[in-house]
C-alpha cells in the first residue's frame, strides 16, 4: 500500500439508519420518563459535577439515542440530586442515572 502521508477519516455524521439504540430503549423500558426529556438543560445548569467535568444529563440522554459514549460524562455524576429538583418535566433524573449505571454494558 502506498503511503500518501494522510488517510481516510471516519465520518462524524450520526446515521440514524444504523445507530444502535439498544441501551436507550432499555433505559426507556425501565425509566419511561427518559422519553419526555426536552433537552432544556436545567439538569446540566444545576449539576454539581458539571463545573468540574463534562457531565450533562441532557447530553447523556441524547447521546444514548445517538449511540455515543456516555461513560465519561456519567462517571462524573455525584448523585447530588439537584437535577431532580430542577427538572421541569419532573423526571426522577437521579434514579435514571442509577439505572444507567446498572444497565450500562458498553
Amino acid at each position: 500500500m502506498m503511503d500518501f502521508g494522510f488517510s481516510l477519516s471516519k465520518s462524524s455524521t450520526i446515521n440514524l439508519d444504523t445507530v444502535d439504540t439498544t441501551l436507550y430503549k432499555k433505559l426507556c423500558d425501565m425509566e419511561p420518563d427518559a422519553r419526555i426529556c426536552m433537552s432544556c438543560g436545567s439538569c446540566s445548569a444545576s449539576c454539581t459535577a458539571a463545573s468540574f467535568s463534562g457531565m450533562s444529563l441532557r447530553k447523556v440522554i441524547l447521546a444514548l439515542q445517538r449511540d455515543q459514549d456516555v461513560r465519561p460524562m456519567l462517571s462524573n455524576c455525584m448523585l447530588s440530586g439537584k437535577c431532580t429538583m430542577v427538572c421541569p418535566r419532573a423526571i426522577n433524573t437521579r434514579h435514571l442515572i442509577l439505572t444507567l449505571y446498572r444497565i450500562y454494558d458498553r
Partner: protein, 609 residues
C-alpha cells in the same frame, strides 16, 4: 410444699420440653451464625463488651427496660405499653417466681428445667403452709392476672386497633396468627391447669376460687391432666413457631441490646448484626404510622416493618422496592421499640447492588477550590444543594461580615458534593473518593473551623470525615456563639415562626434546641403538633431513589399541614432541601435560619472598636 410425684416427671411435659429444646437450639444456632457472619474485629468487640462491667449493667438495665417493661412503648401509647409490659414482664415474673419456688421448696428438682413451669402440678400443698409459699402463690396469681389483662387488651387490639390510637398495624401472616393464638392460649390454659390443681398444690386469689367454682360441677381430677397437657402443648406450639414469627423478636432483642451496646454497626444488610435487627423487629407496626410516605394510605407496605418481613422471606423484588423508595428520614428508627435501623438497613441493601459503571472522579481538578479555600480562618461550606437556595449562603455571608469573621466561602462558585447523596444511594466507595478530595482541600486550607449550613453535609462532615485539627460546626451553634460573644445582636421581630426540624439535623445530628433558641431571640416561635424527634420529613429527601415528584408532593403537603397546626405566620427551617421543597407548596413564607438571623441581626463591630 412437697413433691407429689416421686419421679418428678409426667409425659405431658414432653411437648414443652420439645418446644423448649427446639427454640433454644434454634437460638443458639442463630447466635453462632450471627457471630460467624460478623467481621473478626466486631466479634472481638462484642465478646470484650460482655466482660465490661459498665456495659453489663447497661445491658441488663436496657433488657429490663426495653424487653420487659417496654418503657418506650409506654411513652408512646400507655395502653399499648401496658399490654406489652403486662405480658412480657408478667410472664418473666411467673418464670422467675417459678424458679424461686423450685429453689425454695424442691431444690433437688432445680435441674429439671420444666419444673418451674409446671410447678403446681408436681407439688402438693404441705401441711406447713408458709408465708413464703402463700406470698409466692399470691404473686403467681397476681402476675397471671396481669398477663391475662394484657391478653384481653391484645384481643381487643386485634379486632379494633383504633382503640389503641393506632391507625394501622402490620397484617400478620398465617404462622404469626398461629403463634398469636398459641400465645393467647398459654395463659388461660395455665390458669385452668393451675385452677384444676389448686386443691392439691394450693393457690391464691385466682386459682383457689376458680378451683372451687370448677369443683361445683366438674370432676377436677379428671380435667386436671388434659389442661396441663393443653398448657404444655400451647407452649410447645408457641415455641415451635416462634423462630418463624415475629415473636422471634423476644430472644433476638435480648441479643440485639448487648450487641448494640458493644458498638457493632451494620456492615452488610443480609448478615450479622443486620440479620439480628431483622429478627428483632416485633412487627408492631409503629413505624407504619410514623412513616411520612404513608400519607393518604400510600406506600403502606414500604415501611420498615415490611422491609424486615420481606428480608426474612427473601423476596428480592420487594426488598429492592422498599429499600429504594424510603426517604431515609429516620423516623421509623426513632419510634422503633427495638431500634431497628430501617434507614441503615436500606442503605446497606442499596450497597449490595451491582452496577456496571462506577463513578470516577480522578479527572476532577480541585486546584481552583484549593486556591479559593486558602484565605480565611473560617471555612464556610454551603453545600451543593444550597446553590438552588442562594439566600442561605448570602445570609450566612452577611452575618459573618457583620460579626467581622475572617472567613472564606469555599464553594461559592460550586464545590464538590460532600458525598452523602452517594453514601445514601449505597455508593460508599465513590463517596469516599469525594470525601478525600474535600478533606484535602479543607486540611490544606489552613483554616481551623469548618462552618456548615447544610445539615446533610454537616452529618457527613461530623460522622464520616477525618478532619484532625478542624472544628466542624453547624451554623446554628456558630451563630449562637456569635450572639453570646456579642459579635452580633438579635432583635425580635413580631413574626411568629414554626421551626421544622430537618431530618438530617434533628434525628440525624441531634440538634433541636440551638435553632429554636436563635429563632426565639429573633422572633416568636410556635411548635407544630409533631416536632423534634417526631418531625415529619419534607418529602424532598435525597434518601429516596424512586419516589416520583407527584408522590413527594403529597408528603410535602402533609408535612406542611403538620407545620400549619402551629398557626405560625411563617415556617423556619435549616436545610436547603427542606427550604426548596416547602417553598414549592407552602401557603406562607418559608425561611432558612440564616435568613431570619440575618434579617434580625445587627453588627456590634463599630461599638467594639
Amino acid at each position: 410444699m412437697i413433691d407429689r410425684i416421686p419421679s418428678g416427671f409426667h409425659p405431658f411435659v414432653l411437648p414443652f420440653l420439645f418446644g423448649m429444646i427446639f427454640v433454644l437450639s434454634y437460638c443458639l444456632f442463630g447466635i453462632v451464625r450471627i457471630l460467624w457472619q460478623l467481621p473478626k474485629q466486631d466479634v472481638r468487640k462484642f465478646l470484650l463488651s460482655l466482660i465490661n462491667p459498665k456495659i453489663i449493667v447497661k445491658n441488663v438495665w436496657e433488657i429490663f427496660r426495653d424487653c420487659l417493661i417496654h418503657v418506650k412503648l409506654w411513652k408512646r401509647n400507655k395502653l399499648l405499653g401496658y399490654m406489652h409490659s403486662s405480658i412480657a414482664f408478667g410472664w418473666f415474673m411467673i418464670i422467675l417466681l417459678g424458679h424461686i419456688e423450685v429453689f425454695l421448696f424442691v431444690p433437688n428438682r432445680i435441674h429439671m428445667f420444666y419444673y418451674p413451669i409446671f410447678f403446681n402440678y408436681f407439688v402438693a400443698e404441705g401441711p406447713d403452709m408458709t408465708i413464703q409459699g402463700s406470698l409466692l402463690m399470691f404473686l403467681m396469681d397476681f402476675f397471671l392476672l396481669i398477663i391475662l389483662s394484657g391478653i384481653v387488651l391484645a384481643m381487643i387490639k386485634r379486632v379494633h386497633s383504633r382503640f389503641f390510637g393506632m391507625r394501622r398495624t402490620a397484617r400478620p401472616s398465617l404462622l404469626n396468627q398461629i403463634g398469636l393464638y398459641a400465645l393467647w392460649a398459654i395463659f388461660p390454659l395455665r390458669l385452668l391447669a393451675e385452677s384444676f390443681t389448686a386443691h392439691i398444690s394450693g393457690g391464691s386469689f385466682l386459682t383457689i376460687p376458680a378451683n372451687w367454682i370448677f369443683r361445683q360441677f366438674l370432676g377436677n381430677d379428671l380435667n386436671m391432666l388434659p389442661t396441663w397437657w393443653a398448657y404444655s402443648i400451647a407452649l410447645c406450639v408457641f415455641m415451635c413457631v416462634l423462630p418463624f414469627t415475629r415473636y422471634m423478636h423476644i430472644p433476638a432483642e435480648m441479643m440485639l441490646i448487648p450487641m448494640r451496646n458493644a458498638g457493632i454497626k451494620i456492615r452488610d444488610s443480609r448478615k450479622g448484626f443486620a440479620k439480628l435487627q431483622v429478627y428483632s423487629c416485633p412487627n408492631c407496626g409503629v413505624c407504619i404510622d410514623a412513616c411520612p410516605m404513608s400519607v393518604n394510605r400510600g406506600n403502606l407496605k414500604d415501611c420498615t416493618v415490611y422491609l424486615t418481613r420481606q428480608m426474612r422471606r427473601g423476596n428480592e423484588k420487594r426488598i429492592e422496592e422498599i429499600s429504594d423508595k424510603c426517604l431515609l428520614c429516620g423516623k421509623c428508627h426513632t419510634v422503633c421499640q427495638v431500634q431497628v435501623e430501617g434507614p441503615q438497613l436500606r442503605i446497606m441493601e442499596r450497597s449490595r447492588r451491582h452496577y456496571n459503571l462506577s463513578p470516577d472522579y480522578s479527572n476532577i481538578d480541585t486546584q481552583p477550590l484549593t486556591e479559593t479555600a486558602s484565605h480565611g480562618k473560617v471555612l464556610y461550606f454551603s453545600g451543593c444543594m444550597s446553590q438552588l437556595t442562594p439566600a442561605i449562603g448570602q445570609s450566612v455571608e452577611s452575618i459573618l461580615k457583620k460579626a467581622g469573621v475572617d472567613y472564606v466561602w469555599m464553594d461559592r462558585d460550586g464545590g464538590l458534593c460532600c458525598g452523602r447523596p452517594l453514601l445514601t444511594a449505597g455508593r460508599a466507595e465513590a463517596a469516599k473518593e469525594l470525601m478525600h478530595k474535600n478533606e484535602e482541600i479543607i486540611l490544606g486550607s489552613g483554616a481551623d473551623t469548618l462552618l456548615v449550613s447544610c445539615p446533610i453535609c454537616y452529618k457527613m462532615f461530623t460522622e464520616e470525615y477525618h478532619l484532625p485539627g478542624i472544628r466542624v460546626v453547624h451554623y446554628s451553634h456558630y451563630f449562637s456563639e456569635l450572639v453570646q460573644q456579642d459579635k452580633i445582636r438579635l432583635e425580635k421581630s413580631d413574626l411568629c415562626y414554626v421551626f421544622h426540624d430537618p431530618c438530617e439535623l434533628g434525628r440525624g445530628c441531634g440538634i433541636y434546641d440551638e435553632p429554636r433558641k436563635l429563632i426565639g431571640k429573633s422572633a416568636s416561635i410556635a411548635e407544630a403538633e409533631k416536632n423534634r424527634e417526631e418531625s415529619i420529613c419534607c418529602g424532598g429527601s435525597l434518601g429516596s431513589l424512586t419516589l416520583s415528584f407527584a408522590q413527594r408532593e403529597e408528603m410535602t403537603r402533609a408535612a406542611l399541614d403538620n407545620l400549619y397546626t402551629s398557626r405560625a405566620d411563617a415556617i423556619a427551617t435549616a436545610c436547603p432541601l427542606c427550604l426548596a421543597t416547602f417553598a414549592r407548596y407552602s401557603d406562607r413564607p418559608v425561611r432558612d435560619l440564616a435568613e431570619i438571623i440575618d434579617a434580625q441581626s445587627s453588627s456590634t463591630q463599630k461599638e467594639n472598636q
